[in-house]
């Protein structure tokens, strides 16, 4: 027994020593990597600056035109439909790309037209003055609700059914796109909300990338969910969190 243990220890040392000579790293190309890092940081910062300028529709004509059209639909719906309290919307499987686009391009407050009705105008003004009713906050709230439903279905174990898993992965991809849009939106500056969305992004990527029967992948997802307390944070992300920074 002791001999076997000693043998294992010597073997482990031998493997570790030999492994150190495998994939022996060359010197890090510090300057080249630093330049690349700086270039990527600058590139990442640029779209935010462009979108936040008044000329954004000119810079991104297709995005702007699409958003303007969608925004009109949103405004019509909000002006002539009943005023709703900001309760979480019922989640659906597909991502609300249209409303997301509108919310991200629209100014959070103050750019919507005033309805002709006085009562509507009053309600509209009240809503506009409350960041919790901003398009960004509303879309984010709906988005988080959908993600919560998705994670609940994952917890309910979709792994056994391949068709269900495909649907699940497709929904996760759509939600991932929306999550990235919300993170990149110039209106979404709040640190806590960005952290929530970033953690969400990580878990969605893990869910999308997991193999069908890889226990390691499922364990990684479970670990990420556990470490980030994501589901509890999704449910506790109230209007205050969603309104900040818009």
């Amino acid at each position: 027994m002791t001999h076997e243990h000693d043998t294992d220890e010597r073997f482990d040392r031998w493997v570790a020593d030999a492994a150190a000579s495998l994939h022996e790293p060359p010197p890090a190309p510090r300057d080249a990597m630093w330049e690349a890092i700086q270039a990527r940081r600058a590139a990442a910062a640029t779209p935010v600056a462009i979108v936040s300028t008044p000329r954004r529709f000119g810079v991104r004509p297709i995005w702007g035109a699409l958003a303007a059209t969608l925004l009109a639909g949103v405004i019509i719906g909000r002006s002539f439909g009943p005023t709703r309290a900001p309760t979480p919307a019922t989640p659906s499987a597909s991502a609300p790309s249209a409303s997301v686009a509108a919310a991200l391009v629209a100014s959070p407050v103050g750019e919507a037209p005033i309805p002709s009705s006085t009562s509507l105008a009053t309600r509209r003004a009240e809503s506009a003055s409350d960041p919790a009713f901003s398009p960004y906050a509303v879309v984010t709230r709906e988005h988080l609700g959908r993600v919560d439903v998705l994670l609940a279905s994952y917890a309910a174990d979709v792994e056994g059914d391949s068709a269900l898993r495909d649907d699940f992965t497709r929904s996760a991809r759509e939600l991932l796109s929306t999550t990235r849009l919300l993170i990149d939106a110039p209106t979404g500056r709040d640190t806590e909300r960005r952290q929530l969305l970033s953690d969400l992004e990580l878990v969605l990527v893990q869910l999308i990338q997991r193999s069908g029967d890889a226990a390691d992948d499922s364990a990684a997802v479970a670990r990420a969910l556990d470490r980030t307390h994501l589901r509890a944070r999704l449910r506790s992300a109230g209007p205050n969190v969603l309104a900040r920074g818009t």
């Binding site: 294992d8 495998l22 994939h23 060359p26 690349a36 390691d216 670990r223």
Partner: protein, 179 residues
């Protein structure tokens, strides 16, 4: 300058502090990325990804762990996610071309034992391999590995134990060459 002071200055977007932060940690991150990938281009890409993310998230660093631990957690996430993508792409490519040219070259130029060891290490599941490389090759403690991987130190030990067991099984026929 200690980590706390450096972070304060980085948060103020002081370019010199940003470069100092990078210089302080880049070698270790690059070494880990290279050890895990064995590929210069991937190691550079993952190192760059790590620092881009770190600069982006530095405002969220709460100092409840060492800065290097926090940075390595980002690096581990970047590397493991990156390797998954590479494996998926590699799997598709292998479907078209049974044996990659690079593997043929390596097989011809290296002794059998060394090649088998490389293959055995590369064949470890990514999680096990990360623990093995971090602990046995790069000298991280189980506490550091646990923090970086988001697991308990005991889990790190267990994974290292299993990794070594798999290596022993894969290389048992070479027993006479190392005893």
């Amino acid at each position: 300058m200690d980590d706390a002071a450096l972070i304060d200055r980085v948060r103020l977007q002081d370019p010199r502090a940003e470069r100092a932060f990078y210089e302080r940690h880049v070698d270790r991150i690059h070494r880990l990325a290279y050890r895990m990938t064995g590929d210069e281009a991937l190691a550079r890409e993952y190192t760059q990804d790590t620092f881009v993310r770190a600069f982006d998230k530095l405002s969220e660093f709460r100092a409840d762990s060492a800065l290097s631990t926090w940075l390595h957690a980002i690096a581990v996430s970047v590397i493991l996610n990156g390797l998954r993508k590479v494996k998926r792409i590699h799997g598709r490519e292998q479907g078209m071309d049974e044996l990659p040219e690079v593997a043929i070259t390596a097989r011809e130029s290296e002794p059998d034992l060394k090649q088998r060891m490389r293959e055995a290490i590369d064949a470890l599941p990514d999680g096990y391999r990360m623990v093995f490389v971090m602990h046995d090759v790069e000298g991280f403690t189980h506490e550091e590995i646990g923090s970086a991987l988001g697991i308990q130190p005991g889990t790190s030990k267990a994974q290292l134990f299993r990794a070594r067991g798999k290596l022993r099984a894969a290389l048992h026929e070479f027993a006479g060459e190392w005893q």
